[in-house]
Each structure stands twice: as structure tokens, then as C-alpha cells.
Amino acid sequence: MIKKRVIATIIIKDGWAVQSIGFNNYLPVGKAEIAAEFFNEWGVDEIALIDISATRNNTLIQSETVKKVASKIFTPLSVGGGIKTIDDIRLILDHGADKVIINHALKKSDFIQKAIHYFGKQCIIASVDAIQEGKKYYRYDYLTHNFTDDLFQTLQSIQTGEILLNSVNRDGMKNGYDLELYTKALEVTQTPLIAMGGAKNPYNLRELFDKTDLSAAAAANFFHYYEHSISITKALLKSDTNRPIRHDGLLKYNQFEFDEDGRIKKQDEEELQQMLFEHHQREII
């Protein structure tokens, strides 16, 4: 059975991994490759690496960064940031990416057609920023801050393998995914959608998977907050009912209870004492 995908996004701004709040405030996290190595270790299903300063500075995400991240992980890697030519895509793929994420250059439809022809549909992810104004959703342009195009018409016209649909209103707001947005989006497109924006804790992913038919949820900020965040998220998603989630990493957290933020509750003293003497052999493959 195919599993829902839990995707960790690493946002890069001016060479550093950051947390993004409302598309305009940023907190530094550190080096992208270190975050990626941990996410891989904790059993993430995919990693998305996005340089949000590239298009603005008219550059391409540094291929060295892509290579450093790719060499630390054994999981699919999608990369975005200033990609606008076939050569850009080739360079990024040669440095270890499996898929590319394209936002601004989506408007160049002949480029997108060519990219799909050369690399296959499954290799190209369209990244679309959605903004809600009143009752309507629009496609947001993060460079000009304009929004005039109807979001759902835009989604219908997209031919790529997947769509990463970001909610601008929810970005860094910690109020959960915009369920209405994703429900409506699923009605207008057959293309697999990835939700992003607003996740505060594992309960938000649970809500998204339970209340919509979305097959993939991405989060950035909260996965950086605490140790084993991905393993704990997956353990929580499996704890009350057997959701279709891959949770076969070394870190199980099966018998644990979770608090209202989806973090593990403190074990009682006796158990902690016992854990001190447990011997865990390092797995050799």
C-alpha cells in the first residue's frame, strides 16, 4: 500500500538554512546539510531544499550546497531556487537532486514543456504560492507581492508531475494547514499535491491526512525545533490508528505518550533508569 509522504523542507536564504515566518521574517537554523543528515536519520520520506533568495538575486541555488546535502542522505531530494533553464535543471540534477521545484519560471510555458520532455514529468514540481483575500484564493507573486490570477485556474493549467501548494497566509503562523484550500485544490486537479504552510506540530499533519485526500504534507519550521521530530511525528500519526505512514526507522517511539504540542511526555523515573542500562548495538549494513 502506498504511504502518505512526510516531507521536510529546508529553506535557504543567503546560504543559510532558515525558518520563514509570513514570507518576510527569517530565523537562522544553520547549515543545510546538517539539517538534512538528521532528517534522513529520523526517517523522513523526502527532503525539499529551496533557496528563497536565488530568484530575487537573479542567481541559481548553489550547486555545492545541493551536492553537500545530497551526499548526506539516502532519500529523494527536490531542489528549488532560481531554476529557469534546461541547463540549470541539468546542473542541479548532476549535483544529486532527483527533482526540481520551479516557481517563478512556471510562467515560461515553453521552458516547462521542454523540461517535461527532457527530464520526464515526475522530475518537475510546480511550486505555487496561494493567498486568500476575502473568500477568494489567488496565486501570489512573491517578487512583486501582486496577486491577480485565480489560483484554481492556475492549478488546472499546470502539467508537471506534482504541485507544491504553499499557503502564504499560513506560512510560519502555526495555525495548521489550510484545509479548505487543499480540499478545493483537489477538486480541480489530478496532479499530486503537496501541502505546505502552517504546520505547528504533528497534530496538524494528522488533521490534514484525516480530513483531506492529500498524499503529501511538507513542513519546515517545526521539524527544526526538537530532536527526532520526524520520528516522533510518524509515531504520533501511527499511535491512535494505523494510518498509511512509513514508520520503519530505528527510532520507533511506539510506547510513548504525547503532549498537546505533539512532543513526547516525560517517562517515569523507573523507566528512565532502566533505559540507562539498555545496550543498543550500532546497525551495520
Partner: protein
């Protein structure tokens, strides 16, 4: 570090980086090559690939790789491991980008699926040894494809269920091994599977 010479066939299709990365992690120093001599001298071959069947076969032809691959695999019986499109082009025919001839290593054809199959899926194993040693049914592997291989069940070493259909997940036929999924993208399970293939190469050569 093992002395076995593993050659990754370079026919200019898709991501070779992660397969090199995985083999290095497992203690090998693979060579990427499209040279006849290198392929003939290899202990084992890896046929990677992402993209469309038609483009892949065009590249194989323009790089003159068809004969050397067929001879190495069918006559010299070198162990070969195909991944994703690398598995698909082992077939007689493929229908992606129009009907085109494949390498013809397997009596099989590659046809379109209704939907893109992307993400981790669990498999059912039919032939455990050698590549699924220490791996159980329901192990997850990463799939990303919209065409699949149709062939006789005797070739199939595992299947996966997607969109209410059983899809060929891996192939095992004499010295030919291949997976529709990406072991190099499937974390510990994928590394274990590659280790099993490498152990097999160590034993037979």
C-alpha cells in the same frame, strides 16, 4: 574497500550521483563509464536511469552501448542491476514516447499506468535470495514512475500494490537483477538490498 569493479553505465539519463553515493557508503569505488573496454572488464554492471524509454534507447544507440551490454549480460553472464528506467529498458519493447525497442534482455514490455506512482510503498517478496535476504514482506521502497513492466511471473521477485493493481516491483532472472523502485533512495532498506546484491557479486566472481 572492496576490489570488485562495479561499473555504472553512463548513458546520460538522470541522477547517477545518489547511486555512487550509496555504493561509496557500502565501501565500493564504482566507475561511471560508457566505454566498451570498461564494461567488458567489470565484475558487475549497474544500469541506472530516470527519464523516458524512447530517449534512453536513443542514447544507448548513439553511444553504441547495445551490443556490449547484450554480450556482457547474456553471453558473459555478468551480474547486472537495473534501477527504475534501467530496469524498464531491459524489456523487448517500451511504449513511452512511442513504441520502441528495448535491450531485449527480458521477454517483457513496458506500458503506461493510469496514475503516477510516487512515494514509499510496501512490497510482497516472491524470490528472497539473494537480494531480499534479511528483508521482509512489507518493507518500504521508494517508487517514482508512470510506466510499468509486464512480464511472466517467473521473472518477478517482488510486486507492489498501487491503484488496485499489482505492479512489478523487481526482477530476478539468472544474472539479471532489477528494481522498479530506487534502492538508493530507500534509506536503510535500500542500502541493505544493495549490500545483498554486492555480496552476491563477491560470492560468484
Amino acid at each position: 574497500m572492496s576490489g570488485k569493479k562495479i561499473v555504472i553505465i553512463d548513458y546520460e539519463m538522470g541522477n547517477r550521483f545518489s547511486i555512487i553515493n550509496s555504493l561509496q557508503f557500502l565501501g565500493y569505488a564504482p566507475v561511471i563509464s560508457k566505454e566498451t573496454k570498461e564494461i567488458q572488464n567489470a565484475d558487475a554492471l549497474i544500469l541506472p536511469g530516470v527519464g523516458s524509454f524512447n530517449d534512453a534507447m536513443q542514447n544507448i544507440h548513439s553511444l553504441n552501448l547495445e551490443t556490449v551490454l547484450q554480450e556482457s549480460i547474456l553471453t558473459d553472464h555478468k551480474p547486472v542491476f537495473g534501477i527504475c528506467l534501467g530496469m524498464q529498458i531491459m524489456a523487448e519493447y517500451g511504449y513511452e514516447g512511442g513504441k520502441s525497442k528495448g535491450l531485449g534482455l527480458l521477454n517483457a514490455q513496458v506500458t503506461a499506468m493510469q496514475k503516477l506512482h510516487v512515494g514509499f510503498n510496501s512490497i510482497e517478496i516472491y524470490k528472497k535470495k539473494p537480494i531480499f535476504t534479511h528483508l521482509e514482506d512489507d518493507t518500504h521502497f521508494y517508487f517514482d514512475h508512470s510506466y510499468h513492466m509486464e512480464c511472466e511471473d517467473t521473472y518477478i521477485s517482488s510486486k507492489t500494490l498501487f491503484d488496485n493493481q499489482l505492479v512489478t516491483a523487481s526482477i530476478q532472472h539468472n544474472n539479471i537483477f532489477a528494481t522498479q523502485f530506487h534502492p538508493e533512495k530507500s534509506q536503510r532498506s535500500g542500502l541493505k538490498l544493495l549490500r545483498n546484491f554486492l555480496n552476491y557479486v563477491e560470492q560468484i566472481s
